[in-house]
Symmetry: C2
Subunit: 207 residues, 2 copies
Amino acid sequence: MFVDYSLYLVTDRAILKGEDIFSAVEKALKGGVTLVQLREKEVSSRDFYNIALKMKELVNSYNVPLIINDRLDIAFAVDADGLHIGQEDLPLTVARRLLGPSKILGYSVSNVDEAVFGEKNGADYLGAGPVYPTGSKSDAGEPIGIEGLIKIKERVSIPVVGIGGIGVDNISEVKRSGIDGVSLISAILGSGDIEGTSRILITKWRE
Amino acid sequence: MFVDYSLYLVTDRAILKGEDIFSAVEKALKGGVTLVQLREKEVSSRDFYNIALKMKELVNSYNVPLIINDRLDIAFAVDADGLHIGQEDLPLTVARRLLGPSKILGYSVSNVDEAVFGEKNGADYLGAGPVYPTGSKSDAGEPIGIEGLIKIKERVSIPVVGIGGIGVDNISEVKRSGIDGVSLISAILGSGDIEGTSRILITKWRE
């Protein structure tokens, strides 16, 4: 499957303040996001399954792949296009073995060592960050900056997606680092105009 | 694999008040528990994986199968002997399809309809309850009593294990209902003497 990492939306229902998640994601898809990751940390497996099943249908109807955060069982259950794991999730080698070779496997990294380990152990792409300070993920570490992105990109051949504090104001600066895409949560979902903001972001990315 | 459902321990680290979970489970194994379910609701996937990997080795060293609660991905990752799901977990049919035919699949039920559904849709055994009022699971419903157990047992041919409020004082009464085993959390883990209590319970069950 061809994957366009340019504008990668990660969901967070807390930021939506009650707005329906499917409606919010559809606005982002209309605005031009190229990849969607469903992230649910506070729900039962049954609810995660039901949300993922409906999200898969919605996202794929825009010819966009759906990636599931953390939960390999949910990814299997809804036949998602891939899985994204971090340092607190299943070990990368275990996830790759169970997932099989054909599904997309993403891996969160914050330095060159983790990035090299990720490429060597089966990741298809890396989520690198936090690039800037961010409020979306309370467990994010120190910002790695544009310099951190450049160092990681130089050492691996798989796609690198920057994450953390990226928005309309700094997306062009991030693009100049040479990475393959940007991953956003609050800059899209927390904006008053999800579709319009997504359109501005993808336009700036493609400039 | 032959499964003896007689004395089925379900873990809950909150009840252990800081005692090491492996030490506690080993005492229960020495006392005679015949099946162990690892239940972790508040940890990261990485921690659940690490605990499950070590627990698998410990439990299997006593020739006892290890069942994982809720998380099919963890069950896969550590090659556990089975999975136990409830009404808030993955749908039973989905879990059975993904798990394959050879692993043990348990299903929590609280009435005859759920029990019949469970047997028809791939469960290998049923956890039926709560039999008595219980403090171990805050989301447990109304007690179904011995009468509830008997009604369920009459309608299915797969093993039925009673759960909820069962302990030394009432295990003999539960046994007379004709079910195949009892599942316990606090009666074992919350007792001052895990090994001794397990031994009393299995002795009473086998009388």
